[in-house]
C-alpha cells in the first residue's frame, strides 16, 4: 500500500449514507431498487457485497463509481460527495470490458491517456502495472488472443495503473472457469497481502459465497426487493484462508443462514401460510428450469439427506452456484414443495411425493401446486378459460405485470410462467404469435 498521510488512514475513504435508488415506471410510479443503504469503507479493508441477482448490489457499485447517481442519499468519497465518475475510484468489470481494438499495453494506458499523463511516464507506469499483474510478454497482444483469465488480468492492470484509492470489483471472477478464478483470486490476495497493490481498499460485489468468505474482511449481505443491507458479517480469519478449515466452513454456513433468513419485519414463525413468500400476481418470478427443480428435489429426497439438506452441502454436490441455488430454493418454497430456513432445505409432503412419483404423477402434482400457489398462473389459466377463443396475447399479461415491476422483471416473470405452465401442461404458448392458449399441440 502507498504510504499516505496518517489522518487519512483513520477517516473512512468512502461513506455511503442512506442511499436510495428508484426507477420511474412507464405509468409514473416508482420502482425501488435500493432502499436506505449505509456503508463505510476504511483504508486497508476488503468489503464484500453479497446478495442474489436483483438485489441491487451492482446498482450500488455504479452509484459509488459515480456512473449512475442515487435517487436520494449521498456517496461521500474522501469527505466530498461523488457527482460523476470520480478519480481515485477504479472498476474491474465482470465482462472485462476491454477494448478489442487496443493491445494489452494500449488498454492499460487508456486511463492515463485520459488524464493527460506525459507519454514517458504513462509508458513507465503501464509497464509496471503489466509487470505486477503477471502480463509480462503480452504487451503487444490483442485481447482476443488471450484466455479469459489473462483478459481479466488486463482488466486489473488497467484499473491499478491509475493508482486508485478504491478498487471496485463487479463479480470479477464469475465469467471465468473455476480453476482460473481460483488462481486469479489467490494471486490478487498475495499481492494485496504483500502490500504491492497501489490501492487502499477494495469493494467486491459477488454472488459466490466461498469467494466472499475467502477474500473479504467484512461481508454485507443484501436482501432483495427492494435491495438493502440485511446483515453484516465480520470475517477475522487470517490469510491465507483454507476452504477446508472448519472455521471457514462455519462462516460459510453462517452466510447461508443469513441469506435464507426472513427479512426484518416479517414473522419468523407463525401459521404455515404466512411463512411462504409470494402474495399476488405482482410477485417477480426468477426463471428456474423444471429440470433443476426436479433434480434438486430428487437429490434432497435421497440419502444421505432423506428430505432435509444443508444448503451449502447440496450446492456443492449439485454444482449449483448461489444465483442458481437460491432462486431454485425459492421456487420450491413458492410451490410448497420445500421449506427453506436457517440454511437448510426441507421437502414438504408434496415435495417427497413429487420426488418419488413418475413423470405423469409429477406433472399432475406440479400443475395442482402451480394453479393453487402461484397467483399469476391461476390468473392466466382463468383468463384462457373465460375467453371463447381460449387464447390471449402475451402483451395482455405483460401490461398487467408492468404495473408491479420493471420491464425486464416482467419479461423474466412471464418467461418463468410460460416454462412452468408448459411443463405442467396447464396452458400452451406460441412464440410466433406471442400468445397463450389452451391448445395442446399433441
Amino acid at each position: 500500500m502507498n504510504a499516505t498521510a496518517p489522518e487519512l488512514n483513520l477517516a473512512p475513504l468512502l461513506d455511503v449514507h442512506s442511499v436510495c435508488k428508484s426507477f420511474r415506471k412507464p405509468d409514473g410510479d416508482e420502482l425501488v431498487v435500493l432502499e436506505d443503504v449505509n456503508l463505510t469503507l476504511r483504508p486497508g479493508e476488503i468489503v464484500g457485497l453479497l446478495g442474489r441477482s436483483g438485489s441491487g448490489k451492482s446498482t450500488l457499485l455504479r452509484s459509488i463509481a459515480g456512473l449512475d447517481g442515487p435517487t436520494r442519499g449521498v456517496v461521500n468519497y474522501l469527505g466530498a460527495p461523488v457527482s460523476g465518475p470520480a478519480r481515485g475510484i477504479a472498476m474491474v468489470f465482470q465482462s472485462f470490458a476491454l477494448f478489442p481494438w487496443l493491445t494489452v499495453l494500449e488498454n492499460v494506458q487508456l486511463g492515463l491517456e485520459a488524464l493527460g499523463v506525459p507519454v514517458p511516464e504513462m509508458r513507465k507506469r503501464s509497464l509496471q502495472a503489466i509487470d505486477l499483474i503477471g502480463l509480462d510478454g503480452f504487451e503487444s497482444a490483442y485481447p482476443r488472443e488471450l484466455s479469459g483469465g489473462m483478459r481479466q488480468r488486463v482488466g486489473f492492470a488497467r484499473a491499478l495503473v491509475v493508482h486508485p484509492n478504491i478498487l471496485l470489483m463487479d463479480e470479477p471472477f464469475s465469467a471465468l472457469d473455476v480453476l482460473t478464478a481460483e488462481t486469479l483470486r489467490s494471486d490478487f490476495l498475495d499481492l494485496w497481502g504483500e502490500g504491492q497493490l497501489p490501492i487502499k481498499s477494495v469493494l467486491l460485489v459477488t454472488h459466490n459465497i466461498e469467494e466472499a468468505v475467502q477474500m473479504c474482511d467484512r461481508l454485507l449481505i443484501f436482501s432483495s426487493n427492494p435491495g438493502r443491507v440485511a446483515s453484516e458479517i465480520p470475517i477475522d480469519l487470517p490469510q491465507p484462508r483454507h476452504t477446508q478449515d472448519p472455521r471457514f466452513r462455519a462462516l460459510i454456513e453462517r452466510v447461508y443462514v443469513e441469506m435464507t433468513a426472513r427479512p426484518r419485519g416479517e414473522p419468523r414463525a407463525g401459521p404455515k401460510s404466512e411463512r411462504f413468500p409470494g402474495t399476488g400476481i405482482g410477485t417477480t418470478l426468477t426463471h428456474v428450469s423444471s429440470n433443476v427443480l426436479t433434480g434438486l428435489m430428487e437429490a434432497v429426497n435421497e440419502p444421505p439427506y432423506n428430505g432435509k439438506a444443508d444448503l451449502p452441502v447440496i450446492a456443492e454436490e449439485q454444482h449449483l452456484e448461489v444465483d442458481e441455488l437460491f432462486p431454485a430454493a425459492e421456487a420450491l418454497q413458492l410451490l410448497r414443495f420445500a421449506e427453506v430456513e436457517g440454511g437448510d432445505m426441507k421437502l414438504t409432503e408434496a415435495g417427497v411425493q413429487f420426488a418419488r412419483g413418475e413423470t405423469d404423477e409429477r406433472k399432475k402434482l406440479f400443475a395442482r401446486h402451480l394453479i393453487t400457489y402461484v397467483p399469476l398462473a391461476a390468473h392466466v389459466r382463468r383468463v384462457l378459460d373465460e375467453r371463447a377463443s381460449h387464447s390471449a396475447p402475451k402483451s395482455r399479461f405483460f401490461d398487467e405485470l408492468e404495473d408491479y415491476m420493471a420491464e425486464d422483471a416482467a419479461e423474466q416473470t412471464l418467461r418463468t410462467i410460460i416454462s412452468w405452465g408448459r411443463y405442467a401442461e396447464v396452458f400452451a404458448y406460441d412464440d410466433n404469435r406471442q400468445a397463450f392458449s389452451l391448445e395442446n399441440p399433441a
Binding site: 455504479r62 463509481a65 456512473l67 447517481g69 466530498a80 460527495p81 461523488v82 457527482s83 460523476g84 465518475p85 478519480r87 475510484i89 477504479a90 472498476m91 468489470f93 465482470q94 465482462s95 470490458a97 477494448f99 478489442p100 481494438w101 487496443l102 499495453l105 487508456l110 486511463g111 491517456e113 485520459a114 488524464l115 493527460g116 499523463v117 506525459p118 507519454v119 509508458r123 513507465k124 509497464l127 509496471q128 509487470d131 509480462d136 510478454g137 504487451e139 503487444s140 490483442y142 482476443r144 488497467r158 491509475v162 412464440d431 410466433n432
Partner: protein, 577 residues
C-alpha cells in the same frame, strides 16, 4: 524496470527505412501527384469547360477515370464526415434522435436523381466557375453514399455494450477520446461494409451525376460518366467497352488500396472471434503495418488524439454539470421542443403542398399514385424472380467456402456495374424484337441490386453451423425436405436483409431504368421512375417534387408494412437463446 525487459514493439522508436517503406513512399507520392493533377480542372471556368467537349479517345479515359475517382473519394470523405456528426448527434441526444432518424429514413428513400434539383443552387454559389458544378456532382454521389453509412454508425453507437461505456466513463475518458478510442473503432466493421456498399452504389449514379441536365441547364463534367453518356448518344460500342475496362480498373484499385486494407484491419476490431475464422489479408495493410514511415504517421495521429486531452490536476473538483443537466432534461423543454418540431413540420408540409398544387391538379396526384403502383408491381415481381434465382445459387455457393471466396469479389464488382452500360443491348433487343418496354426495360432496375440478395444468402449459408449440417446428414434429411427444414430457414434472416437493400435500390434505380435511350432511340416504360425522370429533364420542379414525395412515401410504407415486420419475425424466430 530493466531496459532489456521492454517489449520490442515499445523499444523500436528509431526510424530506419525498410523494404516496405520504399513501396509506401512510391504509393504515397503517386497519390499526391494524382491529387494535384485530378484537382487541376476543378477551378477552371464554365465557358472553358464547355469549349472542351468530351473526347471518346481511349487515352482520354485515364484523365476521366482519375477525375471520377477523385469525385467519389471526396464524396466518400464528405459521407464520413456526415456520418460522424449526424449519427453521433442522433445517438447521443434523445431530442435530436426523434427527428434525425425518421428524416434519415426518408432521405434514404429519396431517389438520387431527385437531388439533381440542387444543380442550379450549386451553380449559383460560384457563378461561371466549374467548382459549382463539381460540387453538385459530388453532392449527388454523396447522396447515394451517406445515408446507409450514417444508419450503420448510429446502430453501432446504440449497441456498444454497457460495461464498455462504463469502463470508458470510469477511466475518465472525455468525449473526444471516447469517440476515437471506443465509438469509432466499435462502429468500424459495420461502417466499412457499408462504405463498400456505398461505393458500389455510387458508380451506378456516376453517369447521372456527371452529365446533369435540369431544364435548360446542362453541365457535362469530364469523367467516366459523361464519357459513357456520350458513347451511348453516339452509339459507340467500342467506347462503351473502353469505359467498362476503365471502370473495372478503378474498382479494382479501390478494392486493393482502400477496401481490402480496411476490411482486413476491421477484423482486428472484432469483439469476439468465432472458431475457424481467418482474418482477411491485404498486401496494402501489410505494407502499412511494416512500413516505419507510415508507423510514424500513425504515431503522430495518436499524439494528436492525446493533444485533445488536457492534463488534469489530481483532485478534480466535483463538476456542477449535474445540476444544469437536470433543468435541461426537464419535461417542459421536451414539450417545447416537440411543439417546435410539429410546427416546423406543418410549415414545411404547407409550403410543399402550396408549391406543388400551384401547378399540379389533384387528379394528377392520383395518376402519380397509380404510376407508383405500377413501379411497385415491377419491383415486387423482380425481387421475387431474383429470389428464385439467387437463393438456391447463394446457398450452393455458401456451403462451399472455396467457391464463395471466388464468387464474392465478382458479385461485388457486378453490383458496382451501372445499368446504363447495358442500355445498348437492351434497347437494341427491345427495338429489334418489337418487345414491350413496360416489361423488358424492367430487368435494368434490378441489375445492380440483385447482388445484395446473393451476397447475403452466401454469408448466411456459410454461417450454417457445421453441427447442424452433420445432424441433418445424420438424420438423412435430403432433397426438398433439406431445403425446407434446414437451408431456407437458416438463410432467411440474411435473405431478408439483402432483399430490403435490393428493394430499396430498385426503387431508386427505377428512375434510370424506366427511361432508356441508345442514340436517337428512346424507350419509356410506364412508371413513377419515368415520370420523375421526365419531369427532371423538362425542368418541371413541381412534378419532380411530387414524384419524389410519392416515391419516398411508397418506399417508407413498403418498408414499414412489409419488410420491417418480416425482419423482426426473422430475428425472433431464428435466434437461439
Amino acid at each position: 524496470m530493466r531496459i532489456d525487459r521492454l517489449p520490442i514493439s515499445v523499444l523500436r522508436t528509431r526510424y530506419v527505412p525498410g523494404g516496405w517503406d520504399v513501396l509506401a513512399f512510391v504509393l504515397v507520392f503517386a497519390f499526391f501527384i494524382y491529387l494535384a493533377q485530378a484537382a487541376h480542372g476543378l477551378t477552371g471556368s464554365l465557358t472553358r469547360l464547355e469549349a472542351t467537349p468530351i473526347s471518346l479517345a481511349p487515352t482520354a479515359l485515364f484523365g476521366y477515370a482519375a477525375r471520377t475517382a477523385l469525385r467519389m473519394l471526396i464524396a466518400m470523405l464528405a459521407s464520413l464526415l456526415f456520418t460522424f456528426t449526424y449519427a453521433t448527434l442522433a445517438a447521443k441526444s434523445r431530442r435530436a434522435e426523434v427527428i434525425l432518424i425518421p428524416l434519415l429514413d426518408f432521405l434514404q428513400s429519396v431517389p438520387i436523381l431527385g437531388f439533381s434539383i440542387t444543380l442550379v443552387f450549386f451553380l449559383q454559389l460560384t457563378p461561371g466557375r466549374v467548382a459549382g458544378a463539381e460540387m453538385a456532382a459530388i453532392f449527388l454521389i454523396f447522396t447515394s453514399q451517406a445515408w446507409n453509412m450514417a444508419f450503420s454508425f448510429y446502430h453501432s453507437l446504440r449497441s456498444i455494450p454497457d460495461e464498455m461505456l462504463e469502463a470508458a466513463r470510469n477511466f475518465q475518458l472525455g468525449g473526444w477520446l471516447r469517440f476515437w478510442r471506443l465509438e469509432v473503432p466499435f462502429g468500424m466493421p459495420a461502417l466499412i461494409w457499408n462504405m463498400m456498399m456505398s461505393m458500389s452504389g455510387g458508380w451506378f449514379f456516376v453517369v447521372v451525376s456527371e452529365a446533369m441536365s435540369v431544364g435548360n441547364t446542362t453541365v457535362t463534367l469530364p469523367g467516366v460518366g459523361s464519357y459513357i453518356a456520350l458513347a451511348i448518344e453516339q452509339k459507340n460500342l467500342a467506347a462503351i467497352g473502353w469505359a467498362i475496362a476503365a471502370m473495372v480498373i478503378v474498382i479494382l484499385l479501390f478494392d486493393q488500396l482502400l477496401f481490402r486494407p480496411l476490411t482486413a484491419s476491421a477484423d482486428w476490431f472484432r469483439l469476439e472471434q468465432e472458431a475457424g475464422f481467418t482474418p482477411s489479408r491485404s498486401w496494402a495493410l501489410t505494407m502499412m503495418r511494416r512500413s516505419r514511415f507510415l508507423g510514424l504517421v500513425a504515431r503522430a495521429f495518436a499524439a494528436m488524439l492525446r493533444a485533445g486531452v488536457k492534463s488534469r490536476p489530481a483532485a478534480a473538483a466535483a463538476t456542477p454539470v449535474a445540476r444544469t443537466l437536470v433543468a435541461w432534461n426537464s419535461r417542459w423543454v421536451d414539450y417545447g421542443w416537440y411543439t417546435a418540431l410539429v410546427l416546423i413540420g406543418l410549415g414545411a408540409l404547407w409550403k410543399t403542398a402550396y408549391f406543388v398544387l400551384g401547378e399540379v391538379r389533384f387528379a394528377e396526384i392520383g395518376h402519380v399514385i397509380v404510376l407508383g403502383c405500377i413501379t411497385l408491381l415491377r419491383v415486387a415481381v423482380l425481387i421475387a424472380i431474383a429470389t428464385l434465382i439467387w437463393v438456391p445459387i447463394g446457398v450452393w455457393v455458401g456451403l462451399r467456402p472455396r467457391v464463395a471466396s471466388l464468387v464474392q469479389p465478382i458479385a461485388q464488382l457486378l453490383a458496382a456495374f451501372p445499368a446504363n452500360l447495358l442500355f445498348p443491348i437492351v434497347v437494341s433487343a427491345v427495338v429489334l424484337f418489337k418487345l414491350t418496354p413496360d416489361i423488358w426495360l424492367s430487368p435494368l432496375m434490378i441489375l445492380g441490386t440483385q447482388w445484395y440478395i446473393l451476397f447475403n444468402v452466401i454469408v448466411g449459408a456459410s454461417a450454417i453451423a457445421a453441427d447442424l449440417r452433420y445432424a441433418s446428414e445424420n438424420l438423412g434429411v435430403r432433397g426438398w425436405l433439406w431445403w425446407r427444414r434446414v437451408a431456407l430457414p437458416a438463410v432467411f434472416p440474411f435473405y431478408v436483409t439483402g432483399a430490403i437493400t435490393a428493394s430499396g435500390g430498385s426503387w431508386n434505380a427505377s428512375i434510370v431504368a424506366e427511361v432508356a435511350s441508345w442514340g436517337k432511340e428512346k424507350l419509356t416504360a410506364h412508371g413513377l421512375g419515368a415520370y420523375i425522370a421526365e419531369a427532371t429533364t423538362a425542368g418541371d420542379f413541381q412534378r419532380t417534387v411530387l414524384g419524389i414525395v410519392v416515391l419516398s412515401l411508397f418506399v417508407v410504407i413498403v418498408n414499414r408494412l412489409f419488410w420491417r415486420p418480416l425482419y423482426a419475425r426473422a430475428e425472433r424466430k431464428f435466434r437461439i437463446s
